[in-house]
């Protein structure tokens, strides 16, 4: 059932092309059934985990590699699964209206559903490797969705940027996960959760921590990787609402919350998370305040929220994790709604710039009302859930065991800016004088308002009665990230206390900031452009350019088209490495015994060597070909002498034919000339002698090694018994290993066809002129 639930997104994609034709403009409503059913299924699991239970559903996948499709359902993963499927319902409906009549709508739904399935797999996976596979799948589907408008060069560029940053982090994450698996011997989250303090006391701890944090920070757009997220706004708005605010970017913080219990008991963990979280929070809030594009503004405030979440995990107290879960849910609700509303505004007015909108409350009253509700939650005002979360956040920081004052200052600073941003989101588009806009504004269609309305209402209900979601699922999620059962007492009103005072102060300063915005924003914007030249994004582009330059440099150096260079490098590297391993890594024991050879064996050996050397040094082509022939006959003699009559005969015949072939062809080519300089000849000679010595040593080393019994015993014993043949070599060729021989005669056929066509092509060339 769970397996089907997670993979249903992938399965349904097969039906999308058909549905796209049948359902027409109702496709969004039809497809929304999938996440709706999923949400119902996940909701049915709520009672089982709400009192701290944990379900482990096991499905084998690759048992030999210790990779399974096990799913871990506890409060934390279930909250995420509910958010993903619940918000998914509205996104699918919304996208049907937003991209109505778009020629690639079918493809859009295919990718979006695949993303949903990957994301569900990510939050529910128990096995670390399976988790990683789903993690990368979300990066790939995100790439396809950001670049959905692929005719647009910017969309392609930023899609690639998002992919490089998140997939690069994904590689680090894989390394980190493998380190964790190596430390504990358990490749599953449920195994890690039971490992106690084993991980944090292991020498690999720091390495594993750094790798995992790089993975989580890139995915969740933490500073200095935050730049990809605003750029990802090149995606269609439903994607921004779904992937880049409510779900995918939270994968990183999900991972951090998941690993908080097994890994989080060190100063290194909490200090790093607090530092990067705070930095991200301030950067995001500041950049949100200094932008005018509605989607950019929301994106930067998402960066700020992700920073806050990281910070809260870093603080790590029970209260902080309570704040973490509430803030996460609150943010998903209001940010999903706000993004969809931003899309509706863009849709209705034809611009994304809030300075070019105004007075829309007359033409879009419903949109205005829902936006108002959602921004109240963003600003953290009662009676919305955002207020509860903000109170908890401030309370948690007040009681933080580390750096309490500094964190509080930073959070207040960003809270002021966020209040200002929330104010701007309502005031600029909906109030003030009516401005002339690229399109005649009109109320958005129902499908585009349903989602935001439901999400905003949920934020209101959760705000008025926070005990309701808490008793159902939030407590379980908090318990899962804390690691022990927690029963919170969430309430809207805590009485007048320090957090409330701080909150009020942020509102006042926020209001001032809204007022000063028209003056401050252009200046800040100019300042940002100057700073961006030295910022992390400039670093990214510099790195990509450097990579391209390095690639072309090394291609010029190594692949210069001269065969000799390729061969020289190949031979040096191959034999260098082999020789090194042989001499230094292997206890070589040479049985150097020349005395056991008969004099005629010496004769054959000398004949072969003399013919070879003569073939190399002679200036005459005929002499060279003839010596090669002598070499071949010498080899044939060796075969015959050492009990291989079939080989000897074959070698003799082939050698004859080789000489005939060479005589036929090579004498059409010019005679030998010395093309290379003496220095080159000595260099090549040195390389060749080195390679030859390594080969000789290798053979001597191999001679006294035998790891496995030869399988020839079987052939020798059964040649007559099973295959009715007395010539064992031939029996192997035509019976025991017949398939190999069949393949081989086909290779002969291919060579013949190749030669034939080369010769025929030539004949046609000559006929043409």
């Amino acid at each position: 059932m769970m397996l089907l639930a997670v993979l249903s997104g992938f399965l349904v994609t097969a039906l999308v092309p058909l549905l796209n034709r049948l359902a027409g403009s109702y496709i969004g409503w039809v497809l929304a059934l999938v996440p709706a059913l999923l949400a119902a299924y996940f909701a049915s699991l709520v009672p089982e985990v709400s009192n701290g239970g944990r379900l482990l559903l096991e499905y084998p996948w690759m048992p030999g590699l210790n990779i399974s499709l096990d799913f871990l359902v506890d409060g934390l993963s279930l909250v995420f699964a509910l958010l993903i499927s619940g918000i998914g319902v509205f996104i699918l409906i919304y996208a049907g209206a937003y991209l109505k009549g778009h020629k690639d709508l079918g493809r859009f739904y295919v990718i979006l559903l695949s993303f949903m399935a990957s994301m569900l797999g990510l939050v529910l996976a128990d096995n670390l490797i399976t988790f990683f596979v789903f993690w990368e799948l979300t990066s790939i589907t995100s790439y396809l969705l950001i670049g959905f408008h692929h005719e647009d060069a910017d969309a392609r560029k930023f899609a690639l940027q998002g992919l490089f940053v998140t997939a690069g982090g994904g590689l680090a994450l894989l390394a980190g996960l493998i380190l964790l698996g190596t430390i504990t011997g358990e490749y599953s989250f449920s195994g890690l959760l039971e490992s106690g303090t084993l991980i944090s006391q292991h020498p690999y701890y720091t390495a594993a921590l750094v790798c995992i944090l790089i993975g989580a920070f890139t995915k969740s757009a933490q500073w200095p990787f935050h730049f990809w997220l605003p750029n990802a706004m090149a995606a269609p708005t439903p994607v921004s609402a779904y992937l880049h605010s409510a779900t995918m970017v939270k994968a990183g913080v999900y991972l951090l919350a998941r690993l908080n219990e097994p890994m989080g008991d060190t100063l290194l963990w909490s200090g790093t998370l607090m530092a990067f979280g705070t930095m991200t929070m301030i950067t995001g809030a500041y950049l949100a305040y200094s932008n005018t594009g509605i989607k950019k503004l929301l994106a930067y405030s998402t960066v700020m929220a992700l920073g806050t979440l990281t910070l809260l995990i870093g603080v790590g107290t029970e209260l902080a994790l309570t704040a973490f879960v509430c803030f996460l849910v609150a943010h998903s609700l209001y940010k999903g709604a706000l993004f969809m509303l931003a899309g509706a505004l863009d849709h209705a007015t034809g611009t994304k710039d809030i300075t070019r909108m105004g007075g829309l409350r007359h033409s879009m009253p419903l949109t205005a009302a829902i936006t108002g509700l959602a921004t109240l939650s963003l600003a953290g005002l009662p009676p919305l859930f955002g207020f509860v979360a903000k109170e908890l956040l401030l309370e948690a920081l007040l009681q933080s065991p580390l750096w309490s004052a500094g964190l509080l200052m930073a959070t207040l600073f960003s809270a002021m800016l966020v209040v200002a941003v929330a104010g701007l989101l309502v005031i600029k588009p909906f109030f003030g004088a009516t401005v002339k806009m690229p399109k005649q504004p009109h109320e958005a269609p129902m499908a585009m308002l349903a989602g935001p309305a439901v999400l905003a209402l949920l934020a209101l209900i959760f705000g008025v009665a926070p005990a309701l979601p808490a008793s159902l699922i939030l407590d379980a999620a908090i318990s899962a990230s804390v690691g022990s059962p927690v029963a919170t007492k969430l309430a809207l009103w805590h009485g007048i206390n320090v957090p409330l005072m701080l909150s009020a102060a942020s509102l006042v300063v926020g209001a001032v900031l809204v007022h000063q915005w028209p003056k401050l924003q252009p200046r800040l914007h100019r300042l940002n452009s100057t700073m961006a030249r030295r910022g992390p994004e400039a670093g990214y582009f510099g790195f990509m350019q450097g990579l391209a330059q390095f690639a072309s440099w090394q291609t010029r150096r190594l692949q210069n088209g001269v065969l000799g260079t390729y061969l020289l490098i190949l031979v040096l590297v191959t034999f260098g490495l082999t020789g090194y391993t042989l001499l230094f890594r292997y206890d070589i024991d040479l049985a150097f015994d020349l005395a056991d050879s008969y004099f005629y064996e010496w004769g054959i050996a000398l004949l072969v060597v003399a013919a070879t050397v003569f073939a190399c040094i002679t200036q005459s082509r005929l002499a060279s070909v003839a010596s090669v022939g002598v070499l071949g006959f010498g080899v044939a003699l060796t075969f015959i002498h050492f009990s291989a009559p079939d080989l000897g005969i074959t070698q003799l015949l082939v050698e004859t034919l080789t000489v005939i072939l060479l005589v036929l062809v090579l004498f059409k080519l010019p005679p030998f000339v010395n093309l290379s300089t003496p220095w080159e000849r000595y260099r090549d000679l040195a390389v060749a002698v080195f390679a030859g010595s390594v080969m000789a040593l290798l053979m001597l080393a191999v001679l006294d090694v035998r790891y496995f019994e030869s399988i020839s015993t079987f052939f020798i014993e059964n040649s007559y018994a099973l295959a009715q043949g007395r010539n064992i070599v031939n029996v192997i060729l035509v019976d025991f290993r017949q398939l190999d021989t069949l393949g081989e005669i086909f290779v002969l056929g291919l060579a013949a066809i190749g030669v034939y066509s080369m010769l025929k092509l030539r004949a046609e060339d000559q006929q043409k002129p």
Binding site: H641, P645, L661, V665, A688, M699
Partner: protein, 115 residues
Amino acid sequence: MATLMALVVGILFAASIYMMLRRSIVKLVIGLIILSNAANLLIFVVSGLTRGAPPLIPDNAKAVAGAVADPLPQALILTAIVIAFSVLAFAVVLIRRAYEVVGTDDLDQMKDTDT
């Protein structure tokens, strides 16, 4: 005897690599031939040398009496010899064609993909 043959194979490898590094295309072909001989001998030698005991079951017997040479590498080498020959034929014809088209037998001159 294995020591002696190992030295011979080493010399064959050295000679073939030296010839393949030359710029003249005919020398490259000579190098290829020596290389395939060297490789065949290599397999033959490392699988063990046996004097005067070919892997044949005598008439009137159902199995060999006593030890015989290992038949498996022999079967491998037999196919390798024939394949090496057909590949050589292919290479030689290809080189001939290339010489006709490019007009040089100097490998250093044959470095552009579209001449």
